[in-house]
Symmetry: D2
Subunit: 331 residues, 4 copies
């Protein structure tokens, strides 16, 4: 058991780091941000003042503080493994934004470090915490029969990132929309039990920002369903997962609505009230630390997600001139 609320520091105070803080600060009884560290302090000073957050020089300074029990990483993906290992070694609990790491071995090492240190490593897949996802998942597992096909799209209204953002660096975003968008679809499918064997990917680059912006992936499994993951950067916000089974189908339409259909019956829709999914994932992190409930994404799922993500990115990069490329996957 740990004291309530859990005192944490935000590492990386860019736009997303601020969103995470805003989701709980003053609003949650189980978690609060007391400190932070970031590359460009000037960009975060007004925000930190408004939210009552002490800015520390760097991660090391955060880890040295006894009154801080955990860190929340909203840093470049390639730094996650090293930061997780350092935080774990310092006995701090860790919440890391997705993707956890860019390679399977890094993911394995990160979870191993947390396990060795006996700290929580929570992976920040916010959509896992939507009531609509829970309902959708239930329908897929219990109501639609044997799963045949799984189709997911997450597109955005942003065609690319600012040139000076680390997110524009191909080393951080190896296959365009995959790190910011497709990774969410990967996790949604992992959460439904998908175990990929091969992926065939077409990767297109059309917009001016130079990043790949249209990823289309056909995902095979040995015994399970065939899956399709698609993502486009630019057209506008879109989130949808479709599952087709032997006796019915279910879809998650945006973040708050689920539909279920089967032969001979009316379509059924559940519309959920808006909830703050970032608050939900951070409070789930606090609950895992306090021992109230385990974090819903375990090491096995976390690693499997990174491996499938990595296979899609590798196929995307191998694809010659926008043609399809097929790779073995271990997701």
């Amino acid at each position: 058991m740990t004291q309530t609320p859990l005192n944490v520091a935000i590492i990386g105070m860019g736009k997303w780091g601020q969103t995470l803080v805003n989701s709980v600060q003053g609003l949650s009884e189980s978690i609060r941000f007391v400190a932070g560290a970031t590359r460009t302090v000037s960009k975060a000073a007004a925000f930190a003042e408004r939210q009552g957050i002490e800015i520390l020089p760097d991660l090391a300074a955060v880890l040295a503080r006894d009154d801080i029990q955990g860190v929340v990483l909203a840093t470049p993906h390639s730094q996650h493994r090293e930061q997780i290992e350092a935080a774990a070694a310092a006995g701090k609990h860790i919440f890391s934004e997705k993707p956890l790491t860019l390679t399977g071995p890094d993911a394995v090492a990160a979870y191993a470090a947390a396990e060795k240190a006996g700290v929580v490593l929570a992976l920040g897949h916010n959509r896992r915490f939507l009531p609509a996802y829970a309902k959708f998942s239930h329908l897929v597992r219990e109501e639609i029969g044997s799963l045949r096909q799984l189709i997911g799209n997450f597109s955005s209204g942003v065609a690319g990132y600012a040139a000076d953002s680390w997110r524009s660096d191909p080393a951080e975003s190896p296959a365009g929309g995959m790190t910011g968008l497709g990774i969410h679809v990967v996790d949604a499918m992992i959460g439904l039990g998908l175990q990929a064997s091969e992926v065939t990917v077409v990767n297109r680059r059309k917009a001016d920002h130079g990043m790949a912006d249209t990823v289309t992936a056909l995902i095979e499994t040995v015994d399970g369903p065939v899956a399709v993951l698609t993502t486009v950067a630019g057209p506008g916000r879109y989130w949808r997962i479709e599952a087709f089974g032997s006796n019915g189908w279910a879809t998650m339409n945006g973040e708050h609505s689920v539909t279920f259909g089967r032969a001979g019956a009316p379509e059924q829709i559940w519309n959920f009230a808006w909830t703050d999914m970032e608050r939900a994932e951070l409070e789930a992190f606090a609950d895992a630390v306090s021992g109230t409930a385990p974090y819903p994404i375990d090491a096995e799922q976390g690693v499997r997600g990174v491996r499938l993500f990595e296979a899609i990115c590798r196929a995307a990069l191998d694809a010659p001139g926008g043609r399809a490329s097929r790779e073995v996957a271990q997701g």
Copy 2:
């Protein structure tokens, strides 16, 4: 100009043939069924009596009748070419159910026969005649910017056909759900201008009826969008086409609803009143015969649709043990 109403005969009076008759008989001022021919007369006798249709021995007997100006083919796909050639030679206009033929050369020959005889050859893709498709098509061409991705699914509540139906014959349904379901998605995409270069297909057979029931196709184009076609036989009725462009997205949700989204604006939905799409396509056939308006699916689109369908079926059949197979397409 031809007399009104257009007098036609139904060839093939199974379930679908009856649906076509029911959609206009007594209800349309431009077309009516006066005769019919079918393999098993006993199954259609009560229906024919109810709808005032004279049953003739065979197609030849129909073509010999001067008071019949056109034929409507709801016969096995593999017979279409020969029946179209015979009808054209007899100077009869032809409405043919989809797929027009099972191979590209047969499609070319069918259109050539009609052109030579100066008769109309209308292809029965009923969803082309939905007001919602017209709206969707407009959004795709005019509102969403450069098209990046096109995703379409048509699934059904029927896991397979009766054992004694010609539709159960693999020679008539070479890739399971493709002839009954996927072909509609193919045509919807052809109608939006898709020109396929390669297809990668995974084809699964799970249900007891022995037919392939889960088709997943990744469709590449040279310069255009990447497309995905999926279909599952069994889970329940489902029709959805999604288009993602550089500036927006649009979806056709079922047969009567269309949604449009773009960054920074509310989602917009148009819900259309129910219309009878079979009546619409048959009256469009009558209009094409009378010269009122050309039939919206021309020979070029009709042939392109068959070629893409054929490429998907070929890839599906080549796919070893449910794994992905890639083929060149000419759709």
Copy 3:
């Protein structure tokens, strides 16, 4: 038991009479129209020829025919009672369009005549036969707790009737939209068990056609819910019934969708497939004649509906200059 199909005649072959015929002719196995009578034969001749209906001189000629077992009345409302009495006396079953009659005593007499003759008198409230209404009714009775409030609106896209239509006659349409629109809401509420004690009505006349086109009625009951009925002629098609109970609420949204809500749970929606409600009511009439199932609207409900309708119309006519008027109701 009666022979199948039931042979009936359509009395009144205007637009609505034709709609009734079209809904079953050639399509139903349990009922068919073999004859008809109408005021202006010239307007119905082409239709009758298309649907294979013999036009007879008048109702008396229809009633004299032994091969006709029932009549379907789509005639002016004020004629219904007399026609029902004549048909019943001739031993014919009767399906009557709504409103059954314009006064309570006429309704009582009509049902009495049918009962005395031992024939079926079926009242044509098509919306009763919608699967969505059945679901809505179930939710209201079983799921939302004690009923507190009932609100219903049926509006149309037609601001008025053609000047030469009998529907334009104030004697036939005493309170504007009530006979064509509001009566449906009345029956939907009667079907849910509403027993009115007083009505307060505001009646407005705005459009050029001179008919009252905006009816707003507050309906009180002794122990049951408070109800509101509203109808506007002109703005566009709209059908919605809302029920608020002690533990939940339910709405019928258009003809094919139902929503259910309660505190602390997601909204649930059921979307039903399109069905032909006129075919459903006419086949239910045939089923009642053959003894397969009783017609769902019995004499008690039918009379109660006319009485509530009559009270609303009386209040509407009494309302001075568009102000509210309150009347006792016996619905």
Copy 4:
């Protein structure tokens, strides 16, 4: 011009007062809560600590502070007038929760006090700030023609208030759901230009908590539309406004969706993204103080709303034993 952010104090730190603070604290750049006063300090202490708010003894202590520029009133309705007059006299800007006051004369006095002091008096009708309301209002004014009928329902999932809440006091909630629920519908209608002449109200009391929980009001106007306001406490959250005009209709469905219909065209729906309406109204208050934009609810609308509210409450209280009562209105 005033300094940014606007420093304000929350008066009344119950559940709703806390909701208002939470909507902007740390999140808004234009307004922040620096202090507060409340009846039962013990209930708000943890909240105040979390949100960095200094608790002062009472309103007088707040008004004495030079660093506080405005007050936000979430206090019992009957105290608003006096508190507004005191705050205005102290030169503080005022944001008051609805209802502004319980009587017309009090509302007039409150606005007069603010005007005399040259301070902003902003009325907290949060739904005015929904993008969906703006769209709905535009449709009603510009697209549906002459307005005929206006129907609004706001129901809740709470059957009553805690016995020790001031909201349970009949002096504060004279007609049950009217102060918490119906007042929002009143304002939505006032915002659309409604000018009531009479109201007829049925008021029912069914739930155990002793408060009237079912209000049904028929609202007449001299030349404008007929309106209906309904509200039920208990069944579950429900918000819907329907407007019927001579050429079309529009509805606001919940807080984020709007539908528009007219004859011969598909229904059009706009689904808006979730926004925080309390943040929006408080930032609009700050904008009014800074002179950026006038507050959208002016004194004339504010007074008109209270008068209509008062007339409905008076009719509700006069209604004998749950029967209808009619009163003159000046809304």
